[in-house]
Subunit: 519 residues, 2 copies
């Protein structure tokens, strides 16, 4: 194709493809029509249509967590971006690379303040590591290449590229070559030496691991350190991706609730951070510390999120002369699935037994799922993805994105019903793309987490208040919701039925939704 | 209740009630638990639970358009606000009063940047006429009273009040008395005189009416002016609320598409604005004017949106010595409903015949509905509500809000399928509240408006591009979607079936959804 003949949108699509961005989650509008038209002229972009922008951005989050490179989004003006912000917030907290493309009013039309005009840049900036508006067709290619570079620089993030419609339709588009990746900085030697001194002090010390520090090689170094120094290992509470299961190194998570975390960390004198900011409890509670560790603990930093975490841990292990890991005794394979009453522990036992090899688990199970993560340590090897920013409604979209990223793997979405409704439109895209996703909806028909929270804040609970936490009037019928969007589904109300349906769904191509009714 | 015993949340609820805000659309989270608890201690607030924040804000938009006073929202932190921004954008464009309450991190917790922390104020500001964060329990009452006043001052708007959780749970809440409404300014006499001179010039002149200028008394003055001067009357394209139907004064709308608008306004020398900014086409198109009127037309302002529009029109009519209106010939009542092929015109004919007396029509019919508004001029008297900001997904939530505002009236939601999916969760709240809403889903199974737009921008259309505009793979089953949320529903594929179902639904208490399949 002659570059001189390209319009801005075509230069965008070609630059994205050249930069390795070959998947786009899209909910286009009028201002994106030239991008859509460019898809025909320049083949190679897998464009996944979504029926709501929160699905678009959550799918981009899930995709990149699995694929290790960004997808593009395609959003329509400020309000379209706004609908996608909550999951971009989650992506920001996960340090997920996303090339976030927002079509907008033509440069010369914006001053007229047409009805759809909004503060697109202002809304994008708080969730983005990089925000730009291209103002000429000739600059779109360079802007796109820079967006890919910015999104992919450690610790990664959302790069928001706003494209007025005229810069897309104008001639003079120039394809930009991919820019060299920005190197990930390594931790200074004196930092490693200082952390070794802390660990040798004999004081109770916690290594708090996050992000890439949870990859198996980095985790191996962490376990060497722990074995050599008696340091405690924990991961942060919400993690973008953890490789785990039989034969893999494991690490427990810092508990969500402050009281439980502080109990767990009682007596800790030093907290060494590896790829995480100083942790705070998710919320404040009256009269309680905002920190999950003891008030007198000293916080140290081995490596910041943007630094090379695996390298820092390996060098620290070496500095401590920590011996290599010896293999641990293998845990028994394929234990029995759960049976009897439908409890969190029993469902976890079923997951532990029945999770398919190399599955991707997307966990937005909120309150009912508290036993799932600890209870699946011995499942077949799998990846575990969580909602990282506390904005519910990322589960189903992430499952969609992960399935697009890994069409050869089964995705298992463990989905609370209340949060599942936020972005329920993701089911339709799963059906459209015929993705191998098993969705388990945990139908307790209330915002159970909030009943707990209502008690935590010491609030009284009368009928009017409790009504606000009750989504069981009327009950949602998830089988009909799924069927209505082209996804096969079944309702189960015993664990035995669940085990059967779950195993069957995981063997059957395409998406399947199981509504697990929790009494 | 002893005021000294109130916490901040309780002072908030009481201040809202004292200020006439007695309805709250809510999707609460942890930081809002004290507000929820306060509902039990202070009775009188009708709290409507919604399963997604876009439903909350759209419902608040629809409620206030009918009720003429604001509802409160209850949203959870920055991401919860973000999910509601698109419909707050619509509310902003409609000049709808909304008291937009956002719970957030405790004042002392915010600096720790817990996962859910976001730029709540920054996201709220672009859609708000007033944005404040309360920082002490004692100031919550005054902040709430000021928010009501700010939201209600002409031309009205969104007042965003951010409440950190500690200011809600701390003691010392003070109920604030309602503040006096801010007077609506009247247009200066010389402006009226000048507009009269323009109208007497004999040049072709358009009066472009918006907002309260479309209420019957104001419209009466506009018709007097038109009859006395040969001025043309048009309303803006998207209007928050128009009272119309048999026996009421009517006014045509400025066409959505620029080409059609410019054709209609060919030869116009003067445009007099009444309650609207200078109009621009919704989008720019390559090589076309961004204005819907001739390039050489002169734009004048009779009254700005925040001024007293009815007064300005009445004074202008008097200045022109325009005679009172004579009654027009009554149009025939109850014409026959449409039959045969399912066209926009035929469905409009059915609506014209079958719309119930005093109905509230919520129109998000997008492309297929182009004949609905002109075709229902002779229907039983009704109010017509439109999406005003171009952010689709306001239709079903507005219908919910309007039905809460007017439980004695039938709400008829004319809903395109693509945009209906954005905030489909509104159906559940309609079922929960047992609201008299008839939802007509126009199931053409594509983003038809975008097929038009793709052609308008001169783009080519191949298979990949068209796939992005096709939501028929798989088809959505609206009957199952509705049933899944507790709403009774039926699919019809002939106009005769539609007529029967529509009439029946309008006679039957509670919500009913009709999926009208458009071949």
């Amino acid at each position: 194709m002659n570059e001189n003949s390209l319009n801005g949108a075509e230069s965008l699509v070609q630059t994205l493809l050249d930069g390795g961005v070959d998947t786009c989650f899209a909910n286009p509008g009028t201002s994106e029509m030239h991008f859509v038209a460019a898809l025909d002229r320049i083949p190679g972009m897998h464009c996944v249509l979504c029926l709501f922008e929160g699905v678009v951005t959550g799918a981009a989050d899930g995709y990149a967590r699995i694929k290790g490179k960004p997808a593009a989004t395609l959003l329509h003006c400020g309000p379209g971006l706004a609908n996608g912000l909550a999951n971009l917030h989650n992506a920001k907290r996960a340090n997920t690379p996303v090339v976030n493309i927002i079509g907008d009013q033509a440069t010369y039309h914006r001053p007229f303040d047409a009805p759809l005009t909004a503060d697109t840049e202002g809304w994008a900036r708080p969730v983005s590591v990089w925000t730009r508006t291209a103002t000429t067709a000739a600059s779109v290619g360079t802007a796109a290449a820079t967006a890919i570079q910015a999104a992919s620089a450690a610790p990664c993030g959302v790069a928001s590229l706003i494209l007025p419609s005229d810069v897309c339709w104008d001639a003079g588009g120039q394809v930009a070559k991919p820019l060299a990746p920005i190197p990930t900085p390594k931790v200074a030697p004196d930092v490693v030496a200082q952390m070794a001194r802390v660990l040798r002090s004999g004081q109770p010390t916690l290594l708090l691991l996050a992000g890439r520090a949870l990859e198996q090689d980095a985790l191996g170094s962490a376990h060497r350190i722990a074995a050599a120094t008696d340091a405690r290992l924990l991961s942060t509470t919400m993690n973008p991706r953890v490789a785990r299961g039989r034969g893999r190194l494991a690490v427990e998570r810092l508990p969500y609730f402050g009281d439980m975390a502080r109990t767990k960390l009682a007596g800790i004198a030093n907290v060494i951070l590896v790829g995480t900011p100083v942790p705070a409890t998710f919320f404040a509670y009256p009269g309680k510390s905002p920190r999950p560790y003891p008030d007198d603990a000293v916080v140290h930093v081995l490596a910041r999120p943007e630094e090379d975490l695996a390298d820092a841990l390996a060098r620290l292990a070496d500095e401590l002369n920590a011996p290599p890991l010896t293999s641990t005794a293998a845990l028994p394979a394929n234990p029995e699935p759960g049976s009897g009453a439908i409890t969190s522990q029993a469902v976890a036992q079923s997951l532990n037994a029945l999770l398919p090899e190399n599955a991707i688990v997307v966990d937005e199970s909120v309150s009912f799922g508290h036993a799932f993560y600890p209870g699946t340590l011995n499942a077949a090897p799998h990846d575990w993805l969580q909602v990282t920013g506390g904005a519910i409604g990322d589960g189903l979209p992430m499952a969609l994105g992960a399935a697009i990223a890994a069409p050869d793997r089964r995705v298992v979405a463990l989905q609370a019903d209340g949060s599942g409704m936020y972005t329920v439109q993701a089911l339709w895209s799963m059906a459209r793309e015929k993705l191998d996703v098993t969705i388990v909806v945990l139908a307790n028909r209330k915002y159970a987490i909030l009943q707990h929270e209502l008690a935590s804040v010491g609030a009284t609970t009368g009928k009017t208040a409790l009504d606000m936490l009750d989504i069981g009037n009327p009950d949602l019928d998830w089988v009909q919701l799924a069927n209505g969007m082209g996804v096969a589904a079944a309702r189960v109300d015993t664990l035995e039925q669940f085990n059967e349906r779950f195993a069957q769904a995981n063997r059957t191509p395409g998406p399947f939704l199981i509504e697990l009714v929790i009494a």
